[in-house]
């Protein structure tokens, strides 16, 4: 059901781990949905010089985290912000329909880490990331989604 690329990034995930002195850290998802992604960024002169992640989740969640870190490394903050879940999916040669929400989570993890970076450095932004409400919504479970919003 998974493409070879997804399996490769699941079996040999790139950039797993933590960055002790990260400039930005973002965590999205929740255990209820079965996916949590935590992303660490090292940023110098507006460029992402290093990215690492930790993920609790299925094969697709690990693979999208891995690919997302690969895609943003060496990019400027602006460029990283332009990376969508679609780009992550395409780089992995696609995902099964039920797993598309994992790529959304990867996009949100990047956004959350960049937002944390801006907050720490007092930077303004033309786009704000509101934070994951708990469930990414990509799973289609709107009832859970609403529940989490209320929490």
């Amino acid at each position: 059901m998974y493409s070879e690329k997804v399996m490769d990034h699941f079996m040999n995930p790139r950039n797993v781990g933590e960055i002790e002195d990260a400039d930005g850290v973002g965590q999205v998802g929740n255990a209820k949905c079965g996916d949590i992604m935590k992303m660490y960024l090292k940023i110098e002169d507006g460029v992402i010089v290093d990215a690492k992640f930790k993920t609790f989740g299925c094969g697709a969640a690990v693979a999208t985290s891995s690919m997302a870190t690969e895609l943003i490394k060496g990019k400027t903050i602006k460029e990283a912000e332009m990376i969508t879940n679609k780009a992550v999916m395409e780089a992995l040669d696609g995902l099964p329909p039920a797993k598309v929400h994992c790529s959304v989570l990867a996009e949100e993890a990047i956004a959350a880490a960049l937002q944390d970076y801006r907050a720490r450095h007092g930077l303004d932004s033309d786009s704000t990331y509101e934070g994951c409400s708990g469930c990414c919504g990509g799973c289609g479970r709107l009832d859970q989604h609403d529940e989490n919003n209320g929490e």
Partner: protein, 398 residues
């Protein structure tokens, strides 16, 4: 090095035993007749079907072969039992169904469908090990209750229900008792008369028989509305040309299972106990789901904290180990197992579950290989889990 294949998913399906396949073979090319035809090849098929019916009746303690009806699957048998019973009772004011919160989808989804059609359904809760309390069954019975449907043994966590006690209650109150015995048949002795059952479903491919064939026991005198309409097969109750080879295979497989039951269950329960004890002693933060006693002999269900089940299954598969999980992600749905939720697990613990079901060909060496593989995989997944990271950091602070 060639990767071994260690199949630990016998609750999902089993292979066909060679003796069973041999028994089926003549009915594909030589004895291909329609069991409804008058001429000799047809008559040979009819004879084979009726012998199989008698064999299955003997295996489950039915009073006569005519109480066994062949179906296309266990799921069809479950659908027929419940829909057939309530549709037949509707005219007389029957409206209510009692079942449990941990039934197989074949029963659960059938009940949900009937609820939409206007029937009332009570889903009884279970305790933390998955047991239904017979007193709850009795309390739930109403004047318009038609049927109680409780599974013999649970497919995920192996809990064997107090079926006999439930049968006594349904008999006392004059309501029908249907039992989904798909996981139990071939592993636990079944005597429908002793257990007070009116309807019982079984499925061939769970006890080393072929796929695509099941049976419903209907106690003589119980009236069901037909589910499949068409020809006059199965005494006018279940239309469709008989799957002769499948039926022969199912009967052969059940007879073999019953002849070797003690030896088989002894073997697989020893392997299961060994795996359980080794895993619990060597891997930290693991929870056993389901009971220790009154459990299917080959069933083991564990939750590994801080990790997710599908990742675990993929990495086990890379090592040649075939298993299943109650994790949402592995099933195509996005909710974790309803069974694990019903016994009170949190979402994150339910997501990290693993079901291992042992069978005839498994060995002690398989168990050793499994435990080594699990130890390595669980450590690897935990090392990349933010939940484990939080847990370790919180522990350091205290």
């Amino acid at each position: 090095m060639e990767k071994p294949v260690i199949y630990l998913d016998h609750a999902a399906t089993t292979y066909v035993k060679p003796e069973v396949f041999e028994a089926m073979k003549p009915y594909f090319i030589e004895q291909y007749g329609n069991a409804s035809s008058l001429y000799d090849v047809g008559r040979a098929s009819r004879k084979a079907v009726e012998e199989a019916r008698a064999a299955i009746a003997r295996c489950i303690g039915a009073a006569e072969p005519g109480e066994i009806y062949f179906t296309g699957s266990g799921t069809e048998a479950d659908n027929w039992a419940i829909k057939g019973a309530v549709y037949a009772a509707r005219k007389k004011g029957g409206k209510h169904i009692i079942t449990s919160a941990i039934e197989h989808p074949a029963v659960m989804e059938t009940c949900k469908f009937l609820k939409k059609e206007g029937f009332d359904v009570t889903f009884l809760p279970v305790d933390s090990e998955g047991f239904v309390n017979p007193e709850d069954v009795e309390k739930a019975i109403r004047p318009d209750t038609v049927i109680v449907s409780i599974m013999y043994a649970n497919n995920e966590i192996g809990t064997i229900q107090p079926i006999k006690a439930i049968g006594e209650i349904t008999r006392k109150h004059g309501v029908l008792f249907h039992c989904d015995a798909v996981q139990a048949a071939g592993t636990i002795p079944i005597d429908v008369r002793d257990l007070g059952m009116d309807l019982l479903s079984i499925s061939s491919h769970k006890f080393y028989g072929p796929k695509g064939v099941g049976a419903l026991y209907i106690r003589k005198g119980v009236r069901l509305e037909n589910l499949i309409h068409g020809g006059h097969q199965e005494r006018g109750k279940r239309a469709g040309t008989e799957n002769v080879a499948g039926i022969v295979g199912m009967a052969k497989a059940l007879e073999l299972a019953i002849a070797n039951m003690e030896q088989y269950t002894d073997k697989i329960s020893k392997l299961r106990d060994k795996a359980r004890d080794l895993i619990l002693s060597r891997i930290p933060y693991v929870r056993l789901n389901g009971p220790v006693e009154n459990r299917l002999p080959g069933n083991l269900n564990l939750s590994f904290q801080f990790i997710e089940g599908e990742s675990l299954l993929l990495l086990l598969d890379m090592k040649g180990i075939k298993a299943s999980s109650g994790s949402a992600c592995s099933s195509g749905s996005l909710d974790p197992s309803h069974v694990l939720m019903a016994i009170g697990l949190t979402h994150e613990i339910a997501h990290g579950s693993l079901r291992l079901s042992f069978g005839e060909h498994n060995t002690e060496a398989d168990v050793d290989y499994l435990v080594d593989a699990l130890e390595e995989i669980v450590a690897r997944l935990r090392s990349m889990s933010p939940l484990y990271e939080d847990f370790v950091k919180a522990n350091k602070q205290t």
